[in-house]
Symmetry: C2
């Protein structure tokens, strides 16, 4: 039946044609984030409409508000890379209206409704709330796709995770530990390092007080990095034989020095990735693999949420301000 | 029977206890290479003794003579990374004395005899002489292990090969072309570029006259690089989506700038490797895979030798001088 009428008309009567969403009123002011009425998204083939209950806040959202991380072509201009909620319209997918799901998004999470390719839906882990789920979808898929699928994490490896106090770092420490790795991590405060140790980190380094190279030189199998350019050379010096450095953010700068001669006899590699720019087929593959390999660990209690604070969706600007301040340990979640 | 007596006594009567080999008389003079009498190598378990007929000359040999590329621990101090010849003593391997073989070496090729782990023996391709074989073992294993096994070359990819006039480059152009790739290459003279075109290169660039980035920006799936540091950033700019840069030599310098932010949305990677430092198990795997995937192409005439000149073993210094001059196109081979 649904295929006999245009997509936009398949929205059930319970879905309004307009919705509240966070919009940026001044492109030059990254804090000018306000709730406004916008059109409810229409569905493309293979998408479901999700009524958002909670949306995770990511550092990339701050960069987008600064104008430096525009959404991929054709994606929502609304900020927000992950959420959880209830399917309000299953479109042509055959999914059930009313099903609770987590969502990996290319954008659009800071809103009452979001259109999601069906391959980017993940189940709610047993024991998790929608808010819990909204706080881990982006981290779980990012960490597993890079540390597991790309770098080939196996038991007994030593993994260095930069930014152990952040959302990605908090998830990565727990996941690597649960998979049998020895985990080293860096952070910039005693509080964040204590948090990292609670999550299972074996070696914690305050980068403001000591050199991580001195502690880890030549010993790491995998490094998950969010600093980029300024850490490149030191990261490589921490890698051991066949070591893999994966850079997923460049918070410190876009370029750096690579000591390629040093890498040769050690057969090392540097990979740089973003999840958001991947085609939907790859995102679907990543979501499926993440659920297969990581969801059990969550349901066994080996990986828990690390929500620092929840705020109402209307307070997106304040959430960004908090995250920017460097005082947040773990995740911020906006609830609708 | 062989196992009942010490290894050193298993050398058949026809193998003398001393042999001629190139030795460096002055560690500070890379051209002080002279034939001298040295002890014939004794065999370790799993090794055969090969009577060398011809030994390929590699740029790495020049670096070793300069004192900058010492042999891995436990390996021969004699220069020479590849040869071909006849098994003179099969040790405990069960191979046949008298069998003709090509050899991938960690060192020792510039000599009358060399001890070789049995996994590093390759058959003589049909139609190839021992001299032909000695000219391609190192190139074939290096190119296949990096472009095939590591970077995953498939039909239709665009591959950039730096140094199309050299031994590695000449082999890589032909192999990639034979496997259905589009091949771009750089070299420093019209003569070398003509040679590269004869071997099948589709795009040839004189790096002294034009920018390879201008011609190839964002278009390459795989880059095989021998320049290292100074080319890093330009190489990355030439990579396309999911592109792989493999650095196997640093003729231009040991470090360079890596634009890691640029790489992220394109999911690019940089690998650095050397074949010589790999453990024997990996070398055996690489030799077997190279024979499996590349030998047929040689026997079908799709990859030919590109020997510029053969010289007597005693003329090793002159061979190094020639290779250093930059006027050699293809390979130099020393014949015993």
């Amino acid at each position: 039946m649904a295929n006999l009428v245009p997509m936009s008309e398949t929205i059930p009567a319970t879905v309004p044609t307009t919705m509240k969403a966070i919009t940026q009123t001044d492109p030059d002011n990254p804090r000018s984030l306000e709730l406004a009425d916008v059109a409810t998204p229409t569905l493309q083939p293979g998408e479901v409409l999700v009524k958002v209950a909670a949306a995770g806040v990511n550092r990339a959202d701050l960069v987008q508000a600064q104008g430096n991380y525009p959404p991929p072509k054709g994606e929502s201009e609304i900020i927000g890379l992950e959420c959880a909620g209830t399917i309000a319209d299953a479109g042509d997918t055959g999914r059930e209206v009313g099903e609770e799901v987590g969502c990996l998004l290319a954008g659009g999470g800071y809103a009452e409704y979001v259109a999601v390719p069906v391959g980017q839906l993940v189940p709610i882990p047993k024991g998790f709330s929608l808010t819990d789920t909204a706080s881990i979808v982006e981290a779980a898929t990012t960490v597993w796709s890079n540390v597991g699928m790309l770098a080939g994490l196996t038991e007994g490896m030593r993994v260095l995770i930069h930014g152990g106090g952040g959302g990605i770092g908090s998830f990565a420490i727990q996941m690597c530990k649960a998979m049998g790795a020895e985990v080293a991590t860096t952070a910039g405060s005693a509080e964040k390092l204590a948090h990292a140790r609670e999550l299972g980190a074996d070696i914690t380094i305050n980068y403001k007080e000591e050199s991580f190279v001195d502690k880890l030189k030549g010993s790491c199998d995998i490094i998950l990095d969010i600093i980029g350019g300024p850490y490149l050379e030191d990261n490589v010096r921490c890698l051991g034989l066949d070591g893999t450095l994966v850079v997923i953010a460049v918070q410190g700068g876009p370029k750096g020095t690579l000591p390629v001669a040093r890498m040769m006899p050690r057969r090392q590699s540097v990979h740089a990735t973003t999840l958001r720019a991947r085609p939907v087929e790859q995102k679907a593959e990543i979501c499926a693999s993440t659920v297969e390999h990581v969801w059990t660990l969550i349901e066994q209690g080996k990986i828990r949420t690390t929500i620092d604070k929840t705020l109402p969706l209307a307070d997106a600007a304040r959430a960004h301000e908090l995250l920017d301040s460097g005082t947040v340990t773990g995740k911020l979640v906006l609830v609708v």
